[in-house]
Amino acid sequence: MKSIGAAVRDPGSTRRNKTGSWRTFKPVADKEKCIGCGLCYLYCPDGCISLEYDPDYDYCKGCGICAEECPVKAITMERE
């Protein structure tokens, strides 16, 4: 249906905008170390980390919060 008045009828459609291209450093996890605490999942400003720590690189802006906050230092930031 055509929308008028700048109404957007396509929920979640910012997914079309792949913010992964903003990234200069990329988080990489050592899954052996991961204790599954879920903090990275909760803290991610872009909601693009799954509970099993599989970052969605289409959207990850590379802010590094997950690496910084990981209590067991399982995540490192690597240059793209």
Binding site: G12, S13, N17, Y59, K61
Partner: protein, 291 residues
């Protein structure tokens, strides 16, 4: 994750800066509220970054009208739901500190006084970040902003932050709380509680902002923790006016630990840091966090 809604109600692809604290606050709040929620935004960072037409990051119904009127818009939404006999839908408002403590104060006061059944969440980054880091009434003492710059004759902002939670308690709002994005379980529990208590609720969320505060984006959560650990930001709730601290840091750090890692405070000398420490000590005592 136990007790956490795994659905994302704020889709990625939004235009927030890397390491944005506002989106952490919104994401966590929406997880606590679930899909049966309508969101109202005041003009500000969160609104601008999430709805670049013809896209939207919101997975739930969402409305924005202007800067100062989100509480009034929410009041109208509430009226419409009531008129349709819909009683179980949450109405959550997101306003920044400018949109809440300054320009939105009147409509917020009106909505709270009327007892509108809305959850108002102020995401506080302590300045007008969307327009370029100008001072708001939520800007803390000593912070250098683009309209309260530190200079030869100035140490930056010369007023203490407006105490919004106390103002909301004075309105008789049944549930008032402070929160911080560094403490997600506390934040989500408060939002959940706010949705369960009938009548209005107000939650003031401190959310560090890398761009406006001057720190590296990965430190957003760290800054929140430092704010809590130095007692700069005390996490509490007030149920029917009765204040209870919800997070008691294991040790109280000196405020300098928090100030020195931010560009906005870097110019402060010992005297000003002392003034801030005194203020924080008083606040901490008043809230019952320290002796």
């Amino acid at each position: 994750m136990k007790g956490v809604d795994e659905k994302e109600y704020l889709a990625p692809g939004h235009r927030a800066c890397a390491g944005c604290g506002a989106t952490i606050a919104a994401r966590l709040a929406l997880k606590a509220l679930g899909e049966n929620t309508i969101a109202v935004s005041a003009t500000g960072c969160l609104e601008v970054i999430t709805t670049p037409y013809p896209e939207t990051a919101w997975e739930i119904p969402w409305i924005h009208v202007a800067f100062e009127n989100a509480s009034a818009v929410a009041s109208g939404v509430e009226g419409a739901l009531k008129a349709q006999g819909i009683e179980d839908t949450n109405i959550v408002v997101f306003g920044g500190d400018g949109g809440t403590t300054d320009i939105g104060m009147q409509s917020l006061s009106g909505a709270m006084e009327r007892g509108q059944n809305i959850i108002y969440i102020c995401y506080d980054n302590e300045a007008y970040m969307n327009t370029g880091i100008q001072r708001s009434s939520s800007t803390p003492f000593g912070a250098s902003t683009t309209t309260s710059p530190a200079g030869k004759e100035s140490f930056g902002e010369d007023k203490f932050k407006k105490n919004m939670a106390a103002i909301m308690v004075a309105h008789g709002v049944p549930y008032v709380a402070t929160a911080c994005i560094s403490h997600p379980q506390d934040l989500m529990a408060k939002v959940k509680k706010a949705s369960e208590i009938p009548g209005p609720a107000y939650i003031h969320v401190l959310q560090p902002c890398a761009t406006g505060w001057g720190y590296s984006p990965e430190k957003t959560v760290k800054l929140g923790k430092l704010a809590v650990d130095t007692h700069m930001w005390v996490l509490y709730e007030a149920v029917n006016g009765k204040i209870e601290v919800t997070v008691k840091p294991s040790q109280k750090l000196p405020v300098e630990e928090y100030l020195k890692v931010q560009k906005r405070f870097r110019h402060l000398d010992e005297e000003h840091i002392g003034i801030i420490q005194n203020f924080v000590d008083g606040q901490s005592k008043q809230l019952g966090l320290s002796e």
